[in-house]
């Protein structure tokens, strides 16, 4: 075998090995199902629109945290003019009382672990 042949052969083996994760699962993978959230009964709308909350609930909670802890403010006026008390345990979890049926579903799907519940006590179960 010439050097050129050996080099090409080696390169081919390398490429096959490196791309193993991609070709080994062809045909067997199924699309991950979207997370199913259990919504609280009896409540029609959240503090803000669903689309907004999905995209921005983290920023909203940060805003609430700063307002309550650092500025001593308590009341939030939503885009629709409704007033809410800014509280994770009181307001958010007052409706979404079961963390496993709601919050954890999306967090598991997107592999995020927010540290909220290291400290914040849930209204039902700890």
């Amino acid at each position: 075998m010439t050097d050129k042949t050996k080099a090409i052969a080696g390169l081919a083996v390398f490429v096959i090995l490196v791309t193993y994760p991609f070709w080994s699962v062809l045909g067997s993978a199924t699309a991950a199902s979207a997370p199913e959230l259990e919504l609280p009964e009896g409540e029609d709308n959240c503090v803000e629109e669903t689309q907004f909350m999905t995209a921005n609930h983290m920023d909203l909670l940060n805003q609430w945290r700063n307002a309550v802890v650092r500025d001593g403010e308590r009341e939030y006026i939503s885009a629709s003019g409704e007033r809410h008390v800014m509280s994770l345990t009181g307001t958010c979890m007052g409706c979404h009382s079961n963390r496993d049926a709601f919050c954890t579903r999306c967090h598991d799907y997107s592999n995020v672990s927010p540290a909220c519940w290291d400290c914040h006590v849930e209204p039902e179960g700890n």
Binding site: E48, E49, F52, N56, D59, L60, Q63, R65, N66, A67, V69, R70, D71, G72, E73, R74, E75, Y76, I77, S78, A79, R83, M86, T89, G90, A115, D118, C119, H120, V121, P123, G125, N126
Partner: protein, 251 residues
């Protein structure tokens, strides 16, 4: 100073944080407390105060004194007021048990040294607050505090919080996590509902405990604390340090 529409990411839902005044007047307050040292001699008084606070705030009960966490506790007179005892002070004075807590100083050394401003003195009511989200656990505040008011969470405190038969914590007050410093917060969460601090409310309900702790607004000349400070002899801890404590002791 509202947060309002300051966050650019929030886009269309530009909602406002309400600037409702707290209580009847929105002028700046300075909350203060007067402790009656004579009434602290009663063990029941001391026990009721410390228990009420620690239950209301899910404070863990850690047996190792090197790692204990306390928001309000008892020290002997000679350690509380070292500048008030001399070589002839009688033992029964030296050993008088006195309730001590964070003094929410006018000039708090802990606030000056905090590198993240996780602790600060609130303009609205003078409470020296803790923001657990921002605390990095450097314990510089603990070194700065001359009164030993602050405790560090060396481990996960939830293991040491007494739970009821359903495994629930005593209250919904957020527990703290490993690695943050905590201390008395003058029951800020109760004050905003118009309630008295847990220790004050609890001790005023037991016989012999009424008036052991008095809480009120120093900036209000008609308040009970202002009246007591004007009419009785009070001292505070380590005045020569210039911290300006807002907890006074009626002696």
């Amino acid at each position: 100073m509202g947060v309002g529409c300051g966050l650019p990411l929030l886009g269309t839902a530009c909602s406002a944080v309400s600037q409702e005044p707290h209580g009847a007047e929105s002028s700046a307050r300075q909350w203060a407390m007067v402790v009656d040292v004579e009434k602290c001699r009663s063990e029941e008084v001391r026990r009721v105060c410390t228990e009420a606070c620690h239950v209301a705030h899910n404070v863990p009960a850690i047996p190792d004194p090197a790692e204990e966490i306390k928001w309000i506790w008892v020290e002997q007179y000679e350690n509380v007021f070292p500048d008030q005892v001399h070589n002839k002070t009688a033992a029964f004075i030296r050993q008088t048990p006195v309730l001590v807590l964070c003094n929410h100083c006018d000039n708090p050394p802990c606030v000056r040294v905090c590198p993240t401003q996780a602790t600060w003195k609130r303009d609205s009511d003078g409470i020296v607050m803790m923001d657990m989200h921002r605390c990095i656990g450097c314990r510089y505040c603990m070194a700065a505090c001359p009164y030993g008011s602050r405790s560090f969470n060396w481990g996960d405190p939830r293991e040491y919080i007494p739970t009821d038969e359903n495994g629930r914590f005593p209250t919904d007050y957020p527990t703290r996590s490993k690695g943050v410093v905590e201390k008395c917060n003058f029951c800020a969460e109760r004050l905003r509902e118009g309630l008295q601090p847990a220790c004050v409310e609890a001790v005023n309900q037991i016989p012999g405990g009424e008036g052991a702790l008095t809480f009120g607004d120093l900036s209000d000349p008609e308040s009970e604390v202002s009246r007591m400070l004007n009419e009785t002899n009070t001292i505070s801890r380590r005045v020569n340090l210039g911290t300006g404590p807002n907890v006074y002791y009626k002696v």
